[in-house]
């Protein structure tokens, strides 16, 4: 069988005995070329300008060559695998500080605390942008460079891939037995018959196959490359969608008491944030009413007080005059209207309070939302009587009440105003009272949960002490001097806090993400491989069939597949019966196939 090589038509002119090793290596490299579109690393440059002609023109053209040369060099570096790898590294390294140092975007209070506690590191971190890592200049530059590199990589690779699809698999290397999987036998069938059988078998297995010289060259698994390109493109889509979402997003909060409603316009929000390109017209038009809020809590055991369910029953209508529909929003189940989502984010109580003037006329009757302070919903709030009130002398004045509300009071004579349980089992409202000017008419935004006591006078009791009372539902506190009274009605409503978020582009981000997974699976699971079948006439007149396979990645399946293909070809061109090699008892003589000089696989 050592005569196989003598009939090889792929003779290279440079093939001298001395460099057989390197020439076969080159041959093998050729066989594996264009199996992927990975960019090749290029050498470092010297000077790009070359020699400089005399005079100003010479200087200009030299500078131009130099600038263009460096620009191209820089671009090539940026789009090389090595730099892509480096940038990926930097990206993960750069993400670390943001997870360890408090971030102003998520926890502004922790940032302030950190700054207060660290005189030296605080300002330093501030300067380095470490309190907002993910929007800092340096972090952004890493990922922008990475994505420029990515795009600069995708475009040429896509072209290359198109080229590969249009060209044919390269011809067989001279030394097929040096490939990772190899099979050979001798047959009586003519070489043309063998090649025809091979072509048919390969095409049956959906290989792209063609005959070059004395061999059939075939390739399969192009989807691997397609998947890889899809994956990298999907990454770009995801980033663009994310950036788009950040620019156009809007996010606001609204506190709604049971029975009240909300329409999605800017003026109705308690607070509102938006991306740089957002305009008020972008808000999706709809409205909703909070029918009922329900919260339940663990009653017993070590986790007593832990929330179990939170749900808000809503009635909503889309557009300005849409039909009313009912829905329930839970912590994990926002209401979707177009691009807008309504999330349930917090909840609290709103005791119903009535304030009367000295004559007994009702000047205020409403549910007043209280702001929770702890897990058991000890809450704080303020009751503000802004207009319609006249004091005993008939003068216009305003009344204010500071209030602490506990849904479950420990019991009379037991401790302070701290709630014992989050449900409204034994609600108590503690109030103190002021009169004067609430300071809410000056056009300055005011806190509805806290009184501005600057121009207020606190009521004192008969004993000269500050007037205050703990009211159970139905109880009333009288204000001295004919100022009237305040009543905690036998009704405690609940309120729910909603976050209303509009983030366009999330559909694209999701689509990109799914495409990325699909592409990745294709790229990692589809092996791209080549198969060659060579049929030549040996010295004794019999046909020598050689088959070999080469994969992009060393796949365990490759030899198996080659075996299947060989069996198909072998059916058409069976082993020559009188062949001494077919003798099962004879150990094949290794040295006759691979001369020692070329036994480089054991390096």
């Amino acid at each position: 069988m050592s005569d196989t090589r003598s009939t090889d038509v792929h003779s290279e002119t440079t093939d001298t005995p001395a460099d057989t090793g390197t020439s076969t290596d080159k041959d093998l490299t050729e066989a594996g070329s264009r199996l992927s579109t990975a960019p090749v690393e290029t050498a470092m440059p010297g000077s790009f300008g070359g020699s400089r002609a005399p005079g100003a023109l010479g200087w200009i053209s030299w500078t131009a060559r130099e600038v263009i040369g460096w620009a191209r060099w820089f671009w090539r570096q940026l789009t090389s695998m090595r730099v892509a790898l480096l940038l990926l590294f930097l990206l993960s390294l750069g993400a670390i500080p943001g997870s360890l140092i408090p971030q102003s975007g998520t926890n502004a209070m922790a940032v302030q605390a950190f700054k207060d506690a660290h005189d030296v590191r605080g300002p330093l971190y501030d300067r380095l942008g470490l309190f907002h890592v993910y929007s800092s200049v340096w972090f952004s530059s890493i990922y922008i460079l990475l994505f420029v590199s990515l795009i600069g990589c995708i475009v040429p690779r896509a072209w290359q891939f198109v080229g590969q699809l249009r060209s044919r698999p390269p011809g067989a290397p001279r030394r097929l037995e040096r490939l990772p999987a190899y099979a050979t036998w001798r047959t009586d069938a003519a070489p043309e018959e063998v090649r025809a059988a091979a072509l048919k078998a390969l095409r049956q297995r959906r290989f792209r196959a063609h005959v070059t010289g004395d061999a059939v060259a075939a390739e399969k698994g192009y989807l691997r490359e397609a998947g890889n390109l899809l994956f990298h493109v999907a990454l770009v889509v995801m980033l663009v969608a994310f950036a788009w979402g950040q620019l156009y997003k809007s996010e606001g909060n609204k506190l709604i008491i049971e029975g009240d409603g909300f329409a999605n316009t800017l003026t109705q929000y308690d607070d509102f944030k938006s991306g740089n390109l957002f305009t008020a017209d972008d808000l999706v038009p709809y409205s909703f009413t909070l029918r009922d809020f329900t919260g339940t809590y663990e009653r017993t055991g070590p986790n007593k007080g832990t929330p179990r369910t939170f749900k808000a029953d809503l009635t909503y209508s889309e557009g300005a005059y849409g039909k009313e529909k009912k829905t329930t929003v839970r912590v994990n189940q926002p209401l979707h209207v177009g691009d807008s989502k309504v999330y349930l984010v917090n909840h609290g109580y709103a005791p119903v309070v009535t304030v009367r003037d000295g004559k007994g006329k009702v000047v205020f009757h409403d549910a007043v939302p209280m702001l929770p302070l702890d897990a058991n919903v000890t809450s704080q709030g303020a009751i503000q009587v802004r207009d319609g009130y006249r004091n005993a002398k008939g003068e216009k004045e305003q009344l204010g009440f500071g209030a602490i509300f506990v849904p479950t009071f420990a019991g009379a004579g037991q401790g302070s105003m701290f709630s014992q349980f989050p449900a409204a089992d034994n609600p108590v409202l503690a109030v103190n009272a002021y009169h004067g000017d609430l300071g809410v008419n000056a056009g300055v935004p005011s806190n509805v949960y806290q009184l501005n006591t600057k121009n207020l006078k606190q009521f004192k009791g008969a004993d000269g002490k500050i007037l205050k009372a703990r009211l159970a539902p139905g109880q009333t506190m009288k204000l001295p001097g004919g100022y009237g009274s305040i009543t905690f009605e036998k009704q405690v409503k609940e309120w729910a806090g909603f976050q209303i978020v509009q983030q366009p582009g999330s559909g694209w981000a999701l689509g990109g993400a799914l495409a990325a997974i699909l592409g990745l699976a294709g790229s990692l699971f589809i092996p791209r491989r080549r198969v060659w079948v060579r049929a030549t006439t040996g010295a004794d007149g019999a046909t020598v069939v050689e088959m070999a396979g080469l994969g992009r990645s060393e796949s365990a399946k490759l030899p198996e597949e080659l075996g299947d293909l060989a069996a198909l070809v072998h059916d058409q061109a069976p082993t020559k019966t009188a062949d001494p090699d077919a003798d099962p008892d004879r150990e094949p003589d290794a040295a006759s196939h691979v001369p020692a000089a070329e036994g480089v696989q054991t390096k």
């Binding site: 997870s99 190899y182 990692l524």
Partner: protein, 361 residues
């Protein structure tokens, strides 16, 4: 109501008993694996050295047509395929495994695997009982996460064994870490049976966490193989350079698969699970989008999942760039797995954030 509570506690206690029982059986399996390694050390083979120094290629590499002898007449079978390592790679045969070809060692190895199967079943029952006692998926806190994680890791190992992969040698290492994990779980991380806070009620949670646990278990196997690759590779390098490794190293290393096989195995495992890890992060983002109104917010847990993902992407990239194959890529893989571990233990215990439902006080 009271009745339901009583059943729950009963199931929770049953679960605890099962977990402790599985630890006992794992301990037995641990000793059986040790016995396998000890008996295996009796066989002295030096395949690696001979393969590395051999002048001529091994005879098996010569092409031949396999012929089956049937009733006197030769019946031709399919041609035999000869494989060889890619140019430049070492052609070292795989070791026989921990038992080293020793019969008694092999027996202990089989016993160890049987015990592993048994303890796996007991632990699985414990996890299921726990799930039944809380009426939800058993991963609401770190204790539950830990017991589920070790169960799945052992399950992955047994599945690979069932698929006839050469992984029995991982057994000792795996069971050691499983015992550590369970020990930590029942002491430091233990949390009484409890239902979930509303933010954790979501089927995306089930998808996200179950795939995260599965990915972790598979990545763990990949990391162990990578570590073994690094040791075996140094060993082979030393031999190839004419060095003489110590007796203990020789005894252990000769029984492991070749460095090329380990490297390939580690790569396949990591690459196979990477798309699922990608999916896990996306499922998490969808869940976050439903729970907190934003799908990505750089919460520490999210950040570390991202870092882990990028680290594995680095590893895959490095593998596909020729210059970074082998040891360098292996180091990246180990760093990537360290990131996964940090996200699990480090972030839960030290960093916190919105994901801090670890239940450890």
């Amino acid at each position: 109501m009271t009745l339901a509570l009583a059943t729950n506690e009963h199931l929770a206690n049953l679960s605890n008993t099962l977990i402790y029982s599985s630890m006992a059986v794992y301990t037995l399996a641990f000793f059986a694996y040790i016995a396998e390694w000890i008996f295996g050390s009796r066989s002295k083979v030096a395949r690696t050295a001979s393969a590395l120094t051999a002048e001529a290629p091994r005879a098996a590499e010569a092409p031949a047509v396999a012929v089956k002898q049937a009733g006197g007449t030769a019946v031709l079978e399919r041609p035999k395929v000869v494989t060889r390592a890619a140019a430049g790679a070492r052609d070292v045969p795989d070791g026989p495994g921990a038992h080293g070809g020793d019969e008694q060692g092999d027996l202990y190895g089989r016993i160890a695997v049987s015990l592993t199967v048994l303890s796996f079943l007991v632990e699985l029952a414990g996890v299921i009982a726990r799930a039944a006692s809380v009426q939800r998926a058993p991963w609401g806190n770190m204790y539950e996460f830990s017991i589920t994680f070790s169960t799945v890791a052992v399950g992955v190992y047994l599945a690979l064994l069932a698929l006839k992969k050469n992984v029995r040698w991982i057994g000792l290492f795996l069971i050691t870490t499983v015992l550590l994990d369970l020990g930590l779980a029942v002491t430091v991380l233990y949390t009484a049976s409890d239902q979930l806070v509303p933010a954790l009620h979501s089927y995306w949670l089930i998808i996200h966490v179950s795939t995260a646990i599965f990915c972790g278990a598979v990545l763990y196997v990949g990391a162990v193989a990578t570590l073994a690759y690094l040791f075996k590779d140094s060993y082979e390098n030393k031999l190839a350079g004419g060095g003489k490794p110590g007796r203990f190293a020789t005894s252990v290393m000769e029984r492991l698969p070749s460095s090329a096989s380990l490297d390939k195995f580690a790569y396949r495992v990591n690459a196979a699970v990477f798309p699922l890890w990608t999916f896990t992060i996306i499922a998490g983002a969808i869940w976050a989008g439903d729970a907190w109104g934003r799908y990505w917010g750089w919460d520490p847990k999210e950040t570390w999942a991202f870092i882990t993902w990028v680290a594995y992407a680095c590893y895959l990239h490095a593998r596909s760039t020729a210059g970074w194959k082998g040891r360098k890529a292996a180091y990246i893989a180990l760093v990537a797995f360290a990131c996964y571990l940090f996200n699990y233990y480090g972030v839960n215990l030290f960093v916190g954030g919105m994901h801090s439902y670890a239940g450890v006080k």
